[in-house]
């Protein structure tokens, strides 16, 4: 459940910033400030997308014990 909301928020804020910058009716100082913010957000978003490979697990019920096993383990067995 970690952080899935922040990507959406980051992307949304990035979209807002792009719109504001494109519209262009803000001060130079302000624009440089939000440009910085936008670049940071785009780095954040790219970073999140470049996270490590996720795992594929299967839940196995061995009698009373429920465990998680990677799919590869199951195929090998």
């Amino acid at each position: 459940m970690k952080g899935n909301f922040s990507f959406e928020q980051a992307l949304k804020r990035l979209e807002e910033i792009v719109e504001i910058l494109e519209a262009g009716n803000i001060s130079l100082e302000e624009s440089i400030k939000i440009y910085q913010e936008g670049i940071n957000l785009s780095k954040l978003c790219s970073g999140m997308l470049e996270e490590a490979e996720g795992k594929v697990m299967a839940i196995m019920n061995n009698g009373e014990q429920i465990g998680e096993f990677s799919i590869n383990q199951i195929r090998e067995a």
């Binding site: 459940m1 952080g3 262009g24 670049i39 997308l49 996720g54 594929v56």
Partner: protein, 405 residues
């Protein structure tokens, strides 16, 4: 006979129609039988006869319902028809107006489906208002389906292809057969208890209505309804609508499309982010350039050029004032110099030694060189020194006469 009411044919057909249409049983009824004389008219309406060993019944199915049929009825098919009775006044012919039709073997299931759907709908299971929003970018997806078959392969491979960093947890279940509905419900509850996934997919590939049946069971619907985690249901093909589909937060037409709904396409998100980055950079450059242009324009403006000229003029004035100042100072200095020279000249005249040439002498005491200006300074017999224009002489005081006494 004369005192009894005589009806026209139309009147009596109307009356019978009225009776039939107001009959509770005849206005909503299931009838089973074998199809014969099936004709699909160019208008889209279907006309056929239902028969069994002993009897026949004329039926019509209008275009709107006929087009929704999931199978093509043919002569000889054993079917169950749902519909109502009415009378076709022109021919005085009563008929079954069919609204839906299914192959007969599935008749009881179909009824159960309709009843459960009605019940759960009344309980609010299908309310749009309680549907949960799917997470934008889940970290983990739970899958409740058969571990064998195309559905699970499609789901896993599509999720991996679209968003490789997502974790996938497969809860393997039987999706058909005895107890399948309990296993599916358990899978949904397992993920809720563990809370290790952000969204789950439940479903299976295509099959007959009997094979899909577990997903029409109340047990499964209840587990979906009670789930805190958003559920995507993907049962069978696009044309199959199960109770699970209605209860789920999102219905996917197929397991593959469920996987697409569950996770975003990383590649397209990446290119979106890159595109935003590009727009950011070009925007800021444009922004700064527009300021540059403005500054240039302003600096070319008349006000500034006038100001420049003004500054030049002031500089010139300052220069000439400086020169003037120098000149005046020189004059003042020169004048003072003249005054000084004159004063020095005067001083020369007042110098007592200059008077020596004119017969005056300076008298000093010999012993200490003191200048003597009064007879009171003199003492008898002391030696004096007398300085004249061209030398000195020594003299002795031999008498003093003080005239001031």
């Amino acid at each position: 006979m004369s005192n009894e009411k005589i009806f026209t044919v139309k009147e009596i057909n109307n009356y019978i129609k009225y009776l039939i249409q107001n009959d509770v049983l005849l206005s909503h009824i299931y009838v089973k039988g074998e199809i014969s004389n099936f004709k699909l008219h160019t208008s889209g309406h279907a006309y056929f006869t239902l028969k069994d060993a002993d009897s026949r019944l004329k039926c019509v199915m209008f275009k709107g319902n006929a087009s929704k049929l999931k199978f093509m009825p043919e002569d000889g098919s054993a079917v169950v028809v749902r519909g109502y009775f009415s009378i076709y006044e022109r021919d005085g012919q009563y008929q079954l107006y069919a609204e839906d039709m299914i192959p007969e073997g599935t008749g009881s299931l179909y009824k159960a489906y309709e009843q459960l759907k009605k019940k759960l709908s009344a309980l609010g299971y299908f309310d749009e208002a309680i549907k949960k929003k799917l997470p934008y970018m889940p970290q983990a997806v739970g899958v409740v389906t058969s571990p064998t078959g195309a559905a699970v392969r499609d789901i896993i491979s599509i999720i991996k292809r679209r968003c490789s960093n997502v974790d996938i947890y497969l809860y393997p279940v039987q999706v058909q057969g005895l107890g399948a509905e309990n296993e599916i419900a358990e899978g949904i509850r397992y993920f809720n208890a563990k809370a290790n996934v952000d969204v789950m997919i439940i479903g299976r590939g295509g099959g007959s209505i009997e094979e899909l049946w577990a997903f029409n069971e109340e047990e499964v619907a209840k587990a979906i309804f009670e789930s805190n985690i958003p559920v995507i249901s993907a049962v069978g093909h696009e044309t199959d609508f199960t109770i699970a589909d209605f209860t789920a937060d999102v219905r996917a037409a197929t397991p593959s499309s469920a996987a697409e709904l569950a996770v975003p396409d990383k590649q397209s998100l990446m290119s979106k982010v890159n595109q935003y980055k590009y727009v950011l950079n070009t925007s800021i450059i444009n922004f700064i350039n527009s300021y540059k242009v403005r500054i240039e324009k302003i600096s070319r403006d008349n006000v500034f050029r006038q100001l420049e000229r003004k500054i030049l003029n002031m500089n010139q004035t300052l220069n000439s004032l400086n020169k003037y100042l120098d000149y005046n100072m020189m004059n003042i200095i020169k004048n003072n110099r003249n005054d000084l020279d004159k004063t020095v000249g005067k001083l020369g005249i007042l110098n007592p030694e200059s008077a020596l040439g004119r017969g005056y002498g300076i008298i000093m005491r010999k012993t200490d060189g003191k200048l003597l200006t009064s007879v009171k300074d003199f003492q008898l017999h002391e030696t004096l020194e007398i300085k004249l224009k061209d030398g000195k002489a020594e003299a002795e005081v031999i008498g003093i006469e003080d005239l001031s006494l």
